[in-house]
Structure formats: structure tokens, C-alpha cells
């Protein structure tokens, strides 16, 4: 069967990914190393993600703030593990002025060298910690819960659009609590918020769990993640939540007077999700015809393409389309008004139809003169594009029924995309391998369908290092210890010690 993209997922998943981004007009390389330009359709998806995530963050009682882009090096250096974890990928501002080089060009002005270099934030624990130290005096000030929507920079050597870029957009939540229990509760609340968001909004099923020690956020006591399975079987870490203990509070001086009159350091957390989620959506829902956007995050859920002929019939077609937009917009789906766009641009309707199908608009409607006469329309569901015979599965409903059913239709598309991805995730976690050879054999297959969940002994120190090397040699990583996994049993195939918990292993982005 002929598809809209040149590359199929089966032929070359990485090339297919790039082609979807380009064919759906989502983003492009900017010419600035490792940075992308996010185009309207990609940014519109991000705006939907922002709005729906922000509603959840606010509902949890977290307040949005904004903190500086620049962090003085000295702030950063206060937490040793933290700075070690990021020092290799930091963009450093050293000058605040340019000056002529005497040859017609410009160079940083040596007279305007900063006394202390400024780091372009890779994450904001340190600068937010400094603010929290000012804000937290007493136990009454706790918990303190803030979030920011911001850009961050990590100088990645190998970049890939949405998945790993030098600059990316994200939200970072930062909270301070009186004790470990309260901070752990918040860490797990944020994790559950991400899990629920990923399932219900992105239609992207995930496994929530704790990262192993060597995969912790630099400086964290515990890191949790949600892991999604892409269509090539690789894992994508789509959100993380960290319990930071008191080390960041000690570095920044976040101390409070307890109700008994003593002084304690606060326990802090941080949690974040980013534009990387869009990469996850592409690799979860995309197909060989382009992107399929879950209706919850589609900038437009229904696209109406008039089939104009540059004759006197066009006015009636446009009238019909415009009133259809008005009617559909009164309907609701997924708790919001339906978002409808009438594509009035010049051009052939078939070209425009395919443009929107490649972008993954959930429903594309075409209206021609015969539809106007018959009170009908032609509708295509993006999640079920073809009939069995390979032709487009266009339907021709009566207009009133289509309008009154649009909410149900969009909700069923959302559910369908989730169900498809959930079936894939469930079918492709192998849980009955208990020896190292079995792991090797599984991942040596050419088309690796997914992950392996094993019982392991949770080694630390040198024993962990050895295990990490062993797994890395197969180009594998340990993803997380699922919160809802079965109890461990038997011997750890990685260490030969008695197993204590279950962990997921897979290839990863």
C-alpha cells in the first residue's frame, strides 16, 4: 500500500521520525547548533500541553513564578554532585558587550568580561533554592510549592529534534517541605500527575517507577520517572520527579524554625516535563502517513476543507462550511469546546486534505457542491485512515448527526489511540526471563519489540558499576523499578544475588 511518507517506520525508524516532523510542519533545524525552530503546528501542540498540564499544577496548589535565566557559577558550585552532573554541558556567559575587532567584525569586549561567569540554566534548583531561603522562615511557610515554565540549555553533543536539543522548553516544579514524608508525598504526587497526564492527555501509556541509583538526577536522593514505549520498542523517559533530601536546602540555606522552636533544613523536591513529550507523541502515535495527534492536544480537532471550483457555486460551499464551523464549535469533547478550523487557503482540496492528514488532525472534513445539495459531508478519521482494501475510509454522514456526534467521535479517537498504544506496551514487556542468557537472546533479535522486566538485587557501589557496564555493553539501560510491579523472586540474573525488586531493562532514547 502506498503511504504519504517516503520512509516507513519498519524501514528506518529514525529517518521516519525526522520525516514526520518535517511532513507535519512541526519543527526544523534552526541553523543554531542543537537548537530547533518550533513551527506553528508543533508549538500549538505544546500550547495545548502547557494549558492542560498547568491546570493540573495549579489544582495541586502549586503557584507559577519566574526565576532568572542566568545562574552565577558560585550558586551552582554549592552542591558538588549537582555541578558535576551538569558541568560538561553548560553554556557559559562570560562577556556583556561586543566591540569592533578593528577588521570590521565584532568580538566580545575584553573590558566587559564578567567577574563571575554566568551559567545559562540547565535546571533551576540552585537559583530557586536561593529564593526559597529568603521565603522560608518558619514551619508556617511550608510546604512552599512553585513552578515555572521556561527554556533551559544543556549543551548536548548529539541532538535530535524534540528528544534532545541544546535548548528546550519545560516546566520545572520546585517544592520545600518540613520533613521527608511530606516531601516524598509531593514527589510521588507529581509522578502520579505525570502518569495521569501522559495516559489521559497524550494517550501515551507509561510505567511509573523509581530510577536506579546511577540514573538519579545529580544530587537527588531518589528519582522517579515515567517511561513510555515507542513503536521501535525503545523507552522514552517522559517526565521525572526527584526527592532531593536536604542537600540542596543545606547548600542554599533553606532553614526554618520548627513549631517547637528548633531549626531544621527543609526537604526539597523537583519535577519536570518538557517538549520531549512531543517526541514521545510522535513515536507513540505516528504512522506511515505522518503524525496522529490525540484530540486532547490537537490545536485543531476538526479541519474543514472546502472543495472550491472557482465558480459561482463557491459562495454556497463557503456558507455551508462556515455554518458547519459555528455548529461544531458549540459542541464539546473531552471537557472543552470542539476546536474547528476552516482552511480557506487557495489550492486543490486533495493537497490540503493530505497536508492535514500528515499533520495528524483527528478529523478532516471535505465539503463539495454535492454535499451542500444533499446536506451531507465527507469525513476522514485520522486514527483509522484506510479501509481493508487500502482506500481511504471516508464516511459520508448526514450533517446533523455528524455535528451532534462530534464529541463522541473525538473522544473515541482519543480512546482508540490510547488503547492501541496500551496494547503494544502490554504485549511487549517480557516478564519471565530470569537468566542473563535469556536477556541477551531477547535483545539480540533484530526487531526488538520492547523491554524485559526482571527481578534484581538492587546492587550499589562497585557491584552496581559492574552491572551497569554489563548492561551497557548490550546498548541497554535500566529504566525504572515499576511502582506496581509484582514482588521479586529468585536470583538476580545480573549479580547472582537474591533479588529484592523488579526492574525494567530496555534500549532507550
Amino acid at each position: 500500500m502506498k503511504h504519504a511518507l517516503n520512509t516507513t517506520r519498519a524501514a528506518d525508524f529514525a529517518a521516519w521520525y525526522q520525516e514526520v516532523i518535517s511532513a507535519a510542519d512541526m519543527a526544523e533545524e534552526s541553523g543554531v547548533r542543537g537548537c530547533m525552530v518550533i513551527r506553528p503546528w508543533g508549538y500549538g501542540i505544546w500550547e495545548r500541553i502547557q494549558r492542560l498540564m498547568d491546570d493540573r499544577i495549579k489544582a495541586a496548589g502549586v503557584e507559577n513564578c519566574y526565576f532568572p535565566l542566568f545562574i552565577p557559577l558560585s550558586y551552582f558550585a554549592k552542591e558538588a554532585e549537582h555541578v558535576d552532573g551538569f558541568a560538561k554541558e553548560m553554556a557559559v556567559v562570560t562577556h556583556h558587550r561586543l566591540i569592533g575587532d578593528g577588521k570590521g567584525g565584532l568580538v566580545p569586549d575584553p573590558e566587559a568580561k564578567l567577574e563571575e561567569p554566568l551559567i545559562v540554566r540547565p535546571t533551576s534548583e540552585t537559583v530557586i533554592g536561593a529564593a526559597m531561603a529568603r521565603w522560608v522562615q518558619s514551619w508556617r511557610d511550608l510546604p512552599l510549592m512553585v513552578n515555572q515554565w521556561a527554556n533551559v540549555v544543556r549543551w548536548e553533543m548529539r541532538t535530535r529534534m524534540f528528544l534532545r536539543t541544546s535548548e528546550f522548553l519545560w516546566q520545572e516544579g520546585h517544592t520545600a517541605h518540613a520533613d521527608r514524608d511530606d516531601a516524598m508525598k509531593e514527589t510521588l504526587r507529581a509522578l502520579e500527575m505525570y502518569r495521569e497526564f501522559s495516559e489521559n492527555v497524550l494517550a501515551m501509556p507509561v510505567i511509573a517507577g523509581e530510577k536506579p541509583e546511577h540514573e538519579r538526577f545529580p544530587g537527588a536522593v531518589a528519582t522517579y520517572s515515567i517511561e513510555a514505549m515507542m513503536q521501535d520498542g525503545k523507552a522514552l523517559q517522559a517526565g521525572t520527579s526527584h526527592y532531593l533530601g536536604t542537600s540542596f536546602a543545606e547548600a542554599a540555606g533553606i532553614r526554618y524554625q520548627t513549631s517547637e522552636g528548633g531549626h531544621d533544613f527543609a526537604h526539597t523536591t523537583s519535577w519536570g516535563t518538557s517538549t520531549r513529550m512531543i517526541g514521545g507523541v510522535i513515536m507513540t502515535h505516528g504512522d506511515d502517513d505522518g503524525l496522529r495527534v490525540p484530540p486532547a492536544i490537537a490545536p485543531w480537532q476538526v479541519i474543514i476543507v472546502p472543495m472550491l471550483r472557482d465558480d459561482e457555486g463557491d459562495a454556497a460551499i463557503l456558507d455551508y462550511c462556515q455554518s458547519l464551523v459555528a455548529e461544531l464549535t458549540t459542541q464539546s469533547a473531552l471537557g472543552e469546546r470542539v476546536r474547528v478550523h476552516l482552511d480557506k487557503r487557495p489550492g486543490k482540496s486533495a493537497g490540503k486534505r493530505w497536508e492535514w492528514l500528515k499533520k495528524g488532525a483527528p478529523v478532516v472534513v471535505e465539503i463539495g457542491g454535492r454535499d451542500v445539495a444533499a446536506g451531507k459531508l465527507a469525513a476522514i478519521r485520522r486514527d483509522a485512515l484506510y479501509r481493508e482494501d487500502g482506500k481511504l475510509a471516508t464516511e459520508f454522514p448526514e450533517r446533523p448527526g455528524f455535528v451532534s456526534g462530534i464529541g463522541v467521535l473525538l473522544e473515541s479517537i482519543q480512546a482508540n489511540l490510547h488503547a492501541e498504544a496500551k496494547a503494544r506496551l502490554d504485549a511487549n514487556i517480557v516478564r519471565d526471563i530470569s537468566d542473563w542468557d535469556g536477556i541477551i537472546a531477547y535483545f539480540n533479535g533484530n526487531a526488538v519489540p520492547g523491554w524485559v522486566e526482571i527481578s534484581w538485587s538492587r546492587p550499589t557501589g562497585a557491584a552496581l558499576d559492574a552491572v551497569v557496564e554489563k548492561v551497557k555493553a548490550l546498548k541497554l539501560t535500566m529504566r525504572n523499578v515499576p511502582l506496581d510491579a509484582d514482588p521479586a523472586s529468585g536470583t538476580c540474573p545480573l549479580t547472582g544475588e537474591a533479588a529484592v525488586e523488579r526492574i525494567l531493562i530496555g534500549k532507550a532514547y
Copy 2:
């Protein structure tokens, strides 16, 4: 009369401004040079501004995108006037890694020096121009209209929160058009959007007009601004819109095939508003008790403070408050649902009442046991805080009437704040001075109430330089040539030449 702030506007306007920001918990110095932390109340106001401005931008057919934070120096240097205008205040990234200095500290790694320095964007014409050059091929691709919400950095030597910070948040619209007429139309559409937004949303009356030549955006052919009058009589430039001609298109290579088959450079525009608008709101509406937030941009429009006594009556008070929140939230004001917040924190109600009055919440409601019994409430309008005898002008309406009237009340507060500011603006522009001595005499007064609008000869070149110096010696600047000014008449008091248009002169932020 005793007021909530220590400093009055009359005693020290600059100190009063800082105190409002602090008393209203809007923002604070971050410890990072020239950068502020925007706290929840300040950021909540910004989120309201963003949402309402974004609605207008989208309604105009402009699409949101996101472009890189970093701009290679070479991009910047392509437009000579542009780079000259910004070179003195640019944050320059020169390294992408830190390394140990051998003494336990960290320094930029000399091995990780960038081949070409990257500029932290002070504005994005150049990097967006490079993208437009890729996107624009034919006249069919025009007009191309994009906007981004982003942070930008200009290394200011003297900073003041919201008004002039090294990093600030803004939106920047960038458009490309086939010809001058279409680009000028867009430049003026954006200006009108800003004027309408300022009047209707910020309740901040402004004068829209063209900046004189020497105040143009670096590289622009024409710059327009909206100018607001602060309570100290100074002017605040609250938004700008630029017609850039073809020079940025020539520098970036934005060329298109015309419908006749030739090739032309596009005509571009850019326009922006920023967190500076919040400074304008403070200095337009603040009083000696703190901020007064126009209801359209108040994160919460109605605050409900229960007067709890830590006894068995508290449950009934909280029930009453909660159902009041639910009822008020069903009402609408200014085209949206009313935003109501119940302040359940522990603490005395008088303390909380004043906290919210200093923050400028439009309506503060207090509920005690007697209100519950009587089916009433105590309500304070922030825009009319005191009775003539100096006591708080609290009203005690019946609950049903208060609920059904909340939309009208909030709209009248919005209108009242605008009317107050409009009366001040109208009363404080002097239009009948026609000689230089008159200008000197006006601005030599100790309390300068406003601006002078004169007829001038629109000098250029050296003649303009001389005029600028003359005006600057009085610490004055030329603000703009109002679009709706009367025709010029007589002789220009600055040059002695025949006048050709009217221009505003004043002290400025």
C-alpha cells in the same frame, strides 16, 4: 490619614514604586545582577496579560512559534545599524563546558571555547529572518505572520524591576509582506492592538504615535509606540511596532517570486510588549495603600476571607464561604467567569484583609459568624477604599444581591480605574506652549504634572542632533508624534523652522 505603605507617592515616587512591588509580593531582586524573581501575584498578572494579548494576536491570524535563545554573532552582524544598536548590551556565550581550576573551583574550559560566540537574544529579528528566508519562496507565502512568547536579555546598566531588567519576558511579533503598504498596515494594526489592549485590559490610557527618527528601533524605517502617563507625570513607552522596510529581508535573504515572475525582497515588521507593562500598571493604578489591579488582569478578582475564631462556629462560616465561592464563580464579568479565591490560611482576618488590599485584589470580602446568621457579607472595593471620614468604605450587602451584581461591580471597577487614569492624562498634556522658554518654565516646576505637546519642524541629521541635545539638557525626551494630533501650526520652538507636525515632550522612564 494613615496608609498601608510607609512611603507615599508624593514623598518619593521611586521608593513608593519599590515598596508597592514588595508589599504586593509581586517580585524581588534575585541576587543575579539585573534579574528579578517574579513571584506568584506578579506572575499571575503576567499570565492574565499573556492570555488576553495572545487571544488578540491569534485573532489577527498571527501564529505562535518558538525560535532559538542563542543567535550566532554572524547573523546579528548582517544588519549594521541593528548590531550597533545592541552591541553594547549583549550577553555573550563563549564556552560550552566548565572544568576544574585545580584549586577546587570551576572555570570555563578553554578546550570548549565556541568557534563563534553566541548572543543571548536581545530581540529575534535576525534569527527569525533566517527562518523566514527558508519559508518564503513565492508571493503565495505572504504575508507570513508569527509571534513568540520568550525571554530576552539586554545588559542594562541601571535596572529597575519590571521597567528595565537585564532579562525580561515579552512577546515579539514578526511579519513579512509583499510590499510597503501591506507591511505598514500590519505595523499600524499591531500598534492599534496595543492601544486597545492598554486601554481596555490594563485600564491604562495611552497616546499612540510615531517615534522621532533618533528614537527608532535599530535598523527600522519607522517606529511607533504607545506612551502612558505615570502618576509622577513621566512617560512610559509600553509597546512598540516597527516597519523595517527591506533591510532585514536583504540581510537575511527573504526573497520571493512575485506573481509576475520577478523576484523581490519582502517588507518586514516587528512589534513587542513586555513585563514592562506591569510596571506601567503599578505606576498608573497604585496608591498609598499598595497596588490596585484592574479586574481584567487580576489573578483573583474576589478574595473571600473567613473570620475564624477557632471554635465550633468555624465550620458554618467555611461552608457559607465555600458556597459563596461556588455561586460567584457562576457569574461573569468582562466576558469571562469571575475568578474567586477563598483564603483559608491560618491567621487573623485583618492581617489577611490588608495583605490582599496591598496586592490590589479588586474586591475583598470578609465573612464572620454574624454575616452567616444574617445572610450578608462585608465587601471592600479596592478602587474606592476609604469613606470621606478616612474609614474603610466597607459595605454590607445581602448575599443574593452581591452575587448577582458581582459582574457589574467588577466592570465598574475596571471602568473607574480607566476613567481616573484618563482624566489624569487628559488634564496633564499642555498643548498651548509655542516657545522654548515656555517649555523650560513648564518643566522647571518641582512637581511636573505631565507632558507638553508642541508643533515642531521634524528636523533630521545634524539639526535633529542639536535639538536632541537641547532637550536632553532638561532631562527631557521626545515621546512620539500622536497619530490623532491636531495639525501643526506656527514655528517650531526647537528649531525656529516652520512646524510640520505635533510631538509630545516629557520626562520618561
